[in-house]
Amino acid sequence: MKIAVCVKQVPDTWAEKTLSAEDSTLDRAAADGVLNELDEYAVEEALQLAEAHGGEVTVVSMGPERAAETVRKALSMGADAGIHVVDDSLHGSDAIATSAVLAAALDGKGFDLIVFGSESTDARMSVIPAMVAERLGIAQLTFAQRVSVSGSDVTIERVTDYGFDTVTGSTPAVISVVEKINEPRYPSFKGIMAAKKKPVDTVTVADLGLEAATVGQAAAWSAVQDFAARPPKPAGTVVTDEGDGGSRIAAYLTEQKFI
């Protein structure tokens, strides 16, 4: 089974994120770049599927040069090879262009499963897996808390507000996973050493057969007009419980007309 896992380098989850004053894109230099947390679950799921059914896992990422660290991280967890789409023209790409680039990088390589995390912790749009499924014309099996594969049949549990839907489809398919699906492994020392020797194919937009003019900020189909930090909230009242803490909250809620 050939499995691709798409990963994104994002600012550290715990860091304050800002937009760049220059062009209103995410200021990636302001924080450490890490493998998007939800993508760790995607890598783990891809590895587990390959271990259970045989096959290999290819990491695919679009991002600036430093995103190579993120590809390497996934390789150190156990993925076999990487494809890193890196091109200056990609800066500021919207989801439309990103999905086109990923679809072009994935298309025609015979992947049976393409696994994503269900969202990135920076943009949080949750649209890329669906867009890639749309572009490739293959099954979309997303927001999975469980994945099982039997031959060409793929069954997932799609998380919903009321619980989950059991959804089936056939390979090739796009899968996205939520965090409760597994426990991502930590790269072992051996894994880290082995990752350094694994092949990573660095490709440009032109290599994918796309025009540079169709990607990047200038080609984006949505644009930021302006942005501002949310004004800090005025300090509230904090009291220490002296046996009447609950009553004091009740009095506050009454004053605010909640009760």
Partner: protein, 319 residues
């Protein structure tokens, strides 16, 4: 006047229009004349309430076979109606289905897409609250028609009564839609409470709750207020409360009128999911808990003393 399509969100328990649908209609009226796309039964029954909020028509997509395939049938119908009605914008709820449908529609018809709008102006400028609510962004779609997903609780629904016609949509399941099929729906959540992202009041618990039994006091307070229950990542990771109730950067984003956080320290992970709540009440033993910075009212104390007392007070006031 131009047509704006609104994808209805239907309450899966009773088939009526969810409040988010009325919120979407309120925003859609600023952009043009709203018409609703309704999947499932009871579309004609909903017409009166949709009309009350300004919808001139509801397009009802019936048939179990359409409901048995995730996301793609929504895209197929929206695409056809955008073309037929020459719609200038599409508003969908910021649910998993809504966002995915918006994304696929954008690819298919060649339009930009803006997710998680909390407001949309008459000229189509969307307001987004990003990075866990720390930054407010104004954006526009610059290509094609405006496709927006809108967060629940962003605006107060305002009536604007008109007559809403009912149009049955003649639909068949496309080949693309057939590629995935829902074979079973499982209700695994804790029923009887409002949906987390739509609730006006959310009561949540974190590490300080100490275990799954501890969530009983959280649930009791929530029920006294008719609130939804949320949990921090520490609590869901520990298995104390089901995952789908997680509020935070890797969970749900909520924006209720009132958010009561109990035993939650307030790491960025959690704040990212609740920072835009209108009023925040915090109960924590640790006076240094960072969440107190966001509190309109906070109590430094043991939640197992404070919360039951609060629940009793609310119950006695409502009796």
């Amino acid at each position: 006047m131009t047509t704006v399509l609104v994808l209805a969100e239907r309450d899966s328990s009773n088939g009526t229009a969810k409040k988010t649908t009325l919120e979407l209609l309120t925003l859609a009226r600023r952009l043009g004349e709203p018409q609703v796309v309704w999947f499932g039964d009871q579309g004609s029954e909903a017409a009166s309430v949709l009309g009350e909020y300004g919808a001139s028509a509801v397009h009802v997509v019936g048939g179990q076979d359409m409901a048995d395939h995730p996301v793609v049938p929504i895209v197929d119908v929206l695409q056809a109606l955008v073309a037929e009605l020459d719609a200038t914008a599409v508003l969908v709820p910021s649910s998993a289905d809504g966002k995915e449908a918006a994304g696929r529609l954008a690819v298919r018809i060649g339009s930009g897409v803006i997710t998680d709008a909390v407001d949309i102006s008459e000229s189509g400028v969307a307001t987004q609250s990003v990075f866990g609510g720390s930054t407010v962004v104004h954006s526009t779609v610059t290509h094609g028609i405006g496709i927006y997903t809108v967060r629940p609780n962003s605006v107060a629904p305002e009536p604007a009564p008109t007559t809403c016609g009912v149009i049955e949509v003649d639909s068949t399941v496309s080949e693309a839609a057939k590629s995935a099929r829902v074979v079973e729906r499982t209700v695994a959540g804790k029923g009887g409470r409002p949906e987390l992202t739509e609730a006006a009041v959310v009561v949540s618990g974190g590490r300080g709750v100490g275990g799954s039994e501890g969530f009983e006091v959280i649930e009791k307070l929530a029920d006294s207020l008719g609130a939804a229950v949320g949990a921090s990542r520490a609590a869901t990771d520990a298995g104390w409360y089901p995952h789908q109730y997680q509020v935070g950067q890797t969970g749900k984003t909520v924006s209720p009128q009132l958010y009561i956080a109990n035993g939650i320290s307030g790491a960025i992970q959690h704040r990212a999911g609740m920072q835009t709540s209108k009023v925040v009440v915090v109960v924590n033993k640790d006076a240094e808990a960072p969440l107190f910075e966001l509190a309109d009212f906070g109590v430094v104390g043991d939640l197992f003393e404070v919360v039951p007392q609060l629940t009793d007070e609310i119950d006695s006031r409502s009796n």
